[in-house]
Symmetry: C2
Subunit: 412 residues, 2 copies
Amino acid sequence: MAVVVQKFGGTSVASAEHIARVAERAIKVRQAGDDIVIVVSAMAGETERLLGLAQAIAGRPAARELDVLLATGEQVTIALLAMALEARGMSAISYTGAQVHIRTDSMHNKARIVDIDADRIRRALVQGKVVVVAGFQGVDEQGNITTLGRGGSDTTAVALAAALEADECQIYTDVCGVFTTDPRVVPEARHLARITYEEMLEMASLGARVLQIRSVEFASKYSVPLRVLSSFEEGPGTLISNEECEMEQALISGIAFNRDEAKLTVLGVPDQPGVAGRILGPVADAGIEVDMIVQNIADDDCTDFTFTVQRSDYDRALEILLQVRDELGAREAKGDDNIAKISLVGVGMRSHAGIASTMFRTLANENINIQMISTSEIKVSVVIDSKYLELAVRALHSAFGLEKAAAGSEGC
Amino acid sequence: MAVVVQKFGGTSVASAEHIARVAERAIKVRQAGDDIVIVVSAMAGETERLLGLAQAIAGRPAARELDVLLATGEQVTIALLAMALEARGMSAISYTGAQVHIRTDSMHNKARIVDIDADRIRRALVQGKVVVVAGFQGVDEQGNITTLGRGGSDTTAVALAAALEADECQIYTDVCGVFTTDPRVVPEARHLARITYEEMLEMASLGARVLQIRSVEFASKYSVPLRVLSSFEEGPGTLISNEECEMEQALISGIAFNRDEAKLTVLGVPDQPGVAGRILGPVADAGIEVDMIVQNIADDDCTDFTFTVQRSDYDRALEILLQVRDELGAREAKGDDNIAKISLVGVGMRSHAGIASTMFRTLANENINIQMISTSEIKVSVVIDSKYLELAVRALHSAFGLEKAAAGSEGC
């Protein structure tokens, strides 16, 4: 008898009909003999409604009280789902974050889970109940209600699965799993049966936003098998775990891309220790997150320094950089917000050479110029002119044969 | 420095503007030096919205889960009010029923408060904070969320006032206090500055629904001075306490009436022990509440038995009575749902004779026939044809001089 944690997001519980469907699915799992814990988000639109109320009251609502307000969203859903289960003759019980002691730190609006006391849930499971838990919320040491920030329900589900030593944590979404790349760009994009935590982290952070990064990190840390699947279609979804396939691993799992970044460059920076810090320090101080950073070798005691930021931060970052240029005595500071980043991701890369060269050759064949390159153990990223994004992704998808299942990559 | 508990109902917190007004009023009280605890209901319409969601899910929603659902209504209000206070520079903190340990029994949907641990509130008051508490809700010994049923926010306020030994519990409503009778029927109806718990209980249970009966009982039990006042107009409202005026007490405090009842009679019942129980037993078993009961002296070993019920229960009660008639061998069972009940209420009645006779003479002068009479220590009730209701109330109001303040009744 397995223990399964299922998580349903706002669009999966958007109405009474949606909630009924979630209840019926859960009853099938329970009747098949598995113990089941369901984590739910607020109904779609509810968090926005509550934020609107807060905005009407105060320009910057008190953080503690905002959490008290937002936590009602999930509380409504747990009550309705437990009602739907009970109305169908299935014994069920709902719990708020506080009731099952999802203890967090006191960082209101973006708290982190410190500890979960799963005893109450275990007792309810032993009684044969389906347990419904409010995602996204917890309680700090003083008993104040906290929320984990947007997407926190995924984290709640994974943390509960870890605390319960569940056999699987299933995240239901509006897609039927993880694909080799975005099917809207490459119609031949192939559904992946499995992927490792590391690969999923690279895919997620690079713009393939199926799962919240924090929840994947959490799952990886506690080795919780994570499955992404559709709440609207039947299917096995994609299993994310740390077990690599015993058969030959595909070189590349997928291609992630992101068109929401902008590139900034300082040219002719004196090549001295501490320069990188003097450039990025003021940027970080302004609360701007930096993604890729590339510095080339020095030439004539000068170097060029390039990094990318979210496109929405571009104007502010450029302003800061123009000041930094003067302070450093650099030759020039400039930027480009018309770029796209494309990344090949795959644990197979570790043991296989030639991925990068195939990538560069493929892009050259399409006459696409590479502006920046950055690599990690399981990833190669390039920055190109954004107008070539679709062309580049399709060419790479085909060059690495991603539309065909690699030997063993699907079946294992 | 006094401790004041203020309670605002749904219409007083119906919108962001309403909540801002409550906050501004509280800030004035706090700045005048009083400690202040505010109890709030769900925003007007919110409880109905939540009930609608539950209805869409299940015909008879599970009682425990209905409480989890409904409790979110007040939680939204406490967060918004605390935000409104903080946004105006006033230190404030919100608490759910569970957070301040409003412990109840486990009767979901109509729980009763067993105990309140007011330590957390006291600590917040010592820190100079305005404390905002969710009305209507509590938590049972197992940590399950409970609700007190409709109007329970009044009870929460009174219970908190008792636990905190507050100087006054102020219930803000949409009327500016208690009147000698309904001003819509008698334009000369006079506002009362004071009234005793007993009088208020009789007035409330007789249809003058300014306050919930349970909250008045609670206030009386713990001698909490209770003040009813308007959240929309300035004014002292009506103070409800057990202190009688030292000066001459008015004979009658007010006239309550009720047109929502119906009358049922069994004629020619054998005058034997146990008959009353055999008539009312089946009625009570059907969940029908009985108000007035009158039995006259026996004649020819037979008696007549009359009682009143809510008009909505009339048809079911009559059906039961027709069966009972056959079983008892009574002569006839019949009813009338075209009646009204009028009651004179006043603690002064205890020591003054002649109230009843003045009442009966006044009605006779207007050619109004009295169908039933029932009395208690501080009340005389009569049942008449409903079409004479307004005429009777006006005549009695004038006959007892209620439009004029009795000596000492206003000033004390």
